[in-house]
């Protein structure tokens, strides 16, 4: 039997190297993972707090809202209400993994398996990440964004830049084209484009142009922005069509939009991503132990950490805080393995495709990782066994009733209902209201009309008027919003009528 990689709890750089090499062997050879190059960075807790406030990104433009989050995090951490994360991993190529200095060697090993291989593989292979994010250019783009915004602040003043960003942030979740695959980011091209635009303007600049009356044709052209389809990417629409924004302001809108798009896959794959990473570290740690590379003590410590992360309270318990994505995801991947290796008759009926399949559980899992997001993953793979294990039940909410109705529980007639209901909780339209630009009255008073497509009668909350003020700041002219369900307007909102032609 081989001797263990380490015995104490202190980590060191040579040990990290050794552990990484062993984890890599398991990940690449046994789990057949396909990952970006890794960059492991050891950071202190202070730096971890810093990283928190910028959504984990190593570099971000400056804005007060990050300072606000930092202040809140810092307070809860210093008071001891919350601990810090063990790691942060960034979807970039090379994949940046932050390891906390305070971690023990066992935690570092877990984190390497979890982030450097689990998350990393997910980033590289999941279809949402592949299509909506650009791991290679993101860091460059963030540098570009930071510098650009800083330059704007110097040139046009803090306060106006802050105002534009505030308003963009209010709409950042609505800055993604959900159905159209976006073009890849390329910082060099972005910069080039911008420079060209600037050079061109400089070349053709002549103050006289301003005094010329616009020809009829031009006017017509402006009015003719046809409204064939509603636009779901509100920020994109504003960037391209806002009557009042200046060039640099449009660029700011674009920056917020692009960064928002980078995060878009993350909140749709929380369960799968964490589940897969947890599954990877669980497999790796067990294999290391089997190989004799981990001591029993280290293994016990690992189980302690692991079960802490996996805690899922029942709905009536004090610690209940919704579904724990780590737990749900991990158990589902384990369940898939069980179905492949040791299926019951029920599994065979529900999952004829892969129950007891010959090619092995790993391929089934890798296939799921590559081609699903939370909603479809649950719809496809949540088994009756899991529903029984978690004792899931469906409550029906009716606005008018003063009680919830228990609709289905974990029994023969309820499984499908439970599964569909859980899946739809992860549907993007349920997480973020579906809001689209339905009209912009270019020929008249330039009112911008947004449409909220109501799903299941869910209306908007009381911050809506505030958000609309932000939309108006970017649009300059009145903005109205209609919550519609099947053509019927359930509620409508409207900002003040006075146009505001400049952001000041």
């Amino acid at each position: 039997m081989t001797s263990p990689l380490y015995t104490g709890c202190e980590w060191s750089f040579p040990l990290l190297e050794d552990v990484y090499a062993e984890c890599e062997k398991i990940a690449l050879e046994e789990l057949k993972l396909n990952v970006y190059h890794n960059q492991l960075e050891v950071i202190s807790s202070e730096q971890m707090l810093d990283a928190y406030s910028s959504s984990g990104l190593p570099i971000y433009y400056r804005h007060w809202s990050f300072g606000k989050h930092f202040s809140a995090e810092e307070r809860t951490y210093r008071k001891g209400y919350t601990g810090l994360a063990y790691e942060i991993v960034i979807n970039s190529n090379p994949c940046i993994n932050y390891l906390m200095e305070e971690n023990t060697m066992t935690t570092q090993t877990t984190v390497i398996a979890h982030a450097a291989f689990g998350h990393n593989h997910f980033f590289k292979n999941n279809y949402l990440f592949r299509e909506w994010t650009d791991a290679r250019y993101i860091i460059d783009y963030l540098v570009f964004a930071k510098n650009y915004i800083q330059e704007c602040e110097e040139r046009y003043g803090f306060s106006v830049v802050e105002k534009v960003l505030d308003s963009c942030h209010a709409l950042s979740k609505h800055g993604v084209s959900r159905y159209k695959r976006p073009p890849k980011l390329n910082v060099f091209e972005e910069k080039l484009k911008q420079n060209e635009r600037r050079q061109y303007l400089r070349k053709i600049y002549n103050d006289l142009w301003r005094t010329l009356p616009k020809t009829k044709k031009q006017e017509e052209k402006k009015k003719d922005i046809a409204f064939s389809d509603p636009e779901e990417n509100v920020l994109y629409f504003i960037e391209k069509n806002s009557p009042i924004l200046t060039d640099w302001q449009r660029e700011l809108v674009r920056i917020v939009r692009k960064i928002s798009q980078y995060f878009y896959p993350q909140y749709q794959t929380k369960v799968m991503n964490e589940g897969w990473a947890t599954h990877t570290h669980f497999y790796t740690m067990n294999r290391l132990h089997e190989k004799g590379l981990l001591t029993d003590g280290a293994m016990l410590e690992f189980f302690h950490t692991h079960s802490g992360v996996m805690f899922q309270a029942g709905f009536d318990r004090k610690g209940y805080n919704g579904f724990n994505p780590y737990y749900l995801g991990f158990e589902m991947f384990r369940d898939i393995r069980r179905i492949c290796e040791d299926p019951t008759d029920e599994d065979k009926e529900w999952f004829p495709d892969f129950a007891g399949c010959e090619e092995g559980w790993l391929d089934v899992c890798l296939e799921a990782v590559a081609n699903y997001r939370d909603e479809s993953f649950i719809k496809q793979y949540l088994s009756p066994a899991m529903i029984r294990k978690m004792r899931l039940f469906v409550l029906a909410n009716n606005t008018k009733a003063d009680h919830y109705l228990v609709d289905s529980i974990h029994n023969e007639t309820g499984y499908k209902k439970v599964r569909n209901a859980l899946a739809s909780m992860y549907e993007i339209g349920n997480l973020i209201p579906d809001i689209q630009v339905s009209d912009a009255d270019f020929k008249g008073d330039r009112t911008l009309t947004l449409r909220h497509n109501v799903i299941d009668g869910k209306l908007l909350n009381n911050t809506t008027d505030d958000v609309l003020k932000h939309v108006k700041r970017l649009w300059g002219y009145p903005v109205k919003l209609e919550s519609r369900q099947e053509g019927v307007i359930l509620k409508s909102y409207r900002t003040s009528e006075t146009p505001q032609l400049e952001i000041e």
Binding site: E41, Q47, I409, D456, K458, N462, D466
Partner: protein, 461 residues
Amino acid sequence: MSKYIIDRRLNPKGKSISNRQRFIRRAKKHLSERVHKNIVERSITDKGEENISIPTDGIREPTFGHDQSTGNYDFVLPGNKDFVPGDKIDKPKGGAGGGGGGEASDDGGGEDEFAFSLTRDEYLDVVFEDLELPNMEDKNKEDVTVFETHRAGYTTVGAPSQLNVEQSMIRSIGRRIALKFPKQRRINEIEEEIARLEEEIKYYKEEVKPMTKNRAMIVELKKELEGLKRKARAIPFIDPIDLRFNNFVKYPKPTSTAVMVCIMDVSASMQEREKELSKRFFLLLYLFLERKYEHVDVVFIRHHTEAIECSEDEFFNSKETGGTIVSSGLQLAHEILKERYSPAEWNAYVAQASDGDNFTSDMPVLERILVNKVLPVVKFYTYVEIAGMYEQSRNFWSAHTANRSGMWALYEKLHEEWPNIVSKKIKEAKEIIPVFREFFQKITTSSMNKPKEKVVSEEIV
């Protein structure tokens, strides 16, 4: 597969500082309201970090979201124990659906409050925002005795120990390039070439092939080599004109020490409440001075009919009784300043707290000491009169009735001539901050008042 392990722990931390400053600037209005409220409620000395919660308006970040109480939809919960289909569960009060689960207001405080911690510095920044120490510059220009050395570029002469090798070498290289210092490579090339040519000559017997061409080339090359070598000898590698030395310049250092003399009346008329209010005022002034000066000395003088210098503890806690002769305190202050704190090195501040009582016979003495001995040497003299709890009306009148034999009247009179003496009344703890701010704002405006300032500075000199 390659990987990198990087130790980032030594990288600069505090990347969020700039964001945090932006946030604090954004929240300024609410922040200063809360801070000013909070500072009078608590003791000021032991502030490491201060927890503050502020209203969320102004720092709210609205986004479109669902109203969880509306809609007809299904949601799933884990951990069913005994529910069967058809059971009804009462909705929790307040109407929040269980679906999202506790994402509402965990980031500190309630829904309308945002809680976070301010560091001591940030806290004091807010407290002392836009306050200025008056007359601070005068001293710097005139009574300079301390110097500080700063780097100031390079000079051509200096001590060998200050030789700056990098700068000297830059010039040496430049000079050698300019003078076409022969390249070693060229010399080597020539030498090799000569050697090769000589080899060739040796290869053939002279009778067979005289190799005149080679010989001519060798002569040519040797001539060039000679020239280059001569040049190399003539152009020194490093020349005295290349040398650069680090230069240091002495700057006058502004006096960075201050002494604060606290004078308090501890006669029978000063009760606990009065002392407590004075203490708060003194502490505030101390913190303010501490931010402006590197080092602040504090001298405590308590007096009734006679004055003694005492420790901080005695100052605030000992009980004395008796009548009041204010001039005794001032006299002692003057002696201490004269003895220990030379005006060339120390900025002197006097803070006096009293309930305004003094023996009538002492008033002329007090005035004389103030005008002749104290006011000319102090930067700023603050006087707070603690109004009695029930005596407000009496003090009010004493302040506004001419020729009333109160200290207030005297100090008001002196202020006409000496803008560096200022007096204020305090009745309750919550007035301290506004009064304190008035002290230091008022002076900035009055120092705008040119003629008056001129008088002051002349007499101070």
